[in-house]
Point group: C2
Chain length 110, copies 2
Amino acid sequence: MSQISRTPDAPYYAVIFTSRRTDTDPEGYEKTARRMEELAAQQPGFLGLESARNMDGPGVTVSYWESLEAIRMWKVQVEHLAAQERGKSTWYQAYAVRIAKVERAYGTEI
Amino acid sequence: MSQISRTPDAPYYAVIFTSRRTDTDPEGYEKTARRMEELAAQQPGFLGLESARNMDGPGVTVSYWESLEAIRMWKVQVEHLAAQERGKSTWYQAYAVRIAKVERAYGTEI
């Protein structure tokens, strides 16, 4: 289960992934989502991941990375590429990916 | 209910707000969360908001803004300030706020 990420001082990068699910293949989706979280955490430059999904609304997953290069490498990781294809063909009605540079952060665990 | 936001071409800004709730005052929290979404949408420079919360995990809310100035004005909006105080004293065990510049975006609804 994802928690609030403890990230280093800014700047670093965030990938904001928002999606609306289809009703198709919930078990496959859940299994792959968990696997992708594990796999992302093993990538070079990974800093953390925060994810939530409403029962009836969108899912929002934010992953944090040291650099744009780390994000590019994660995007083309072989198993992740297969999951992205499956997402587009089967699991997502709609999705958005935003790449952002975190400039400032504060809170209780940062 | 929040959906995937249709945002303009980058660059623009994102506020990534992640939180872990206490068990306290769920009705007050829900009511205020909905009110803050309405109020944010009326602020100058607001571009969109995406939000999700797991039953047993963190909540992730991302709001999008035209400029850092728009984010500053929202942060000090009077009713929002009161909600932030209530959040810190009552609703949140832990939270993180990250201010990020969206540099690139793609997807089915962007």
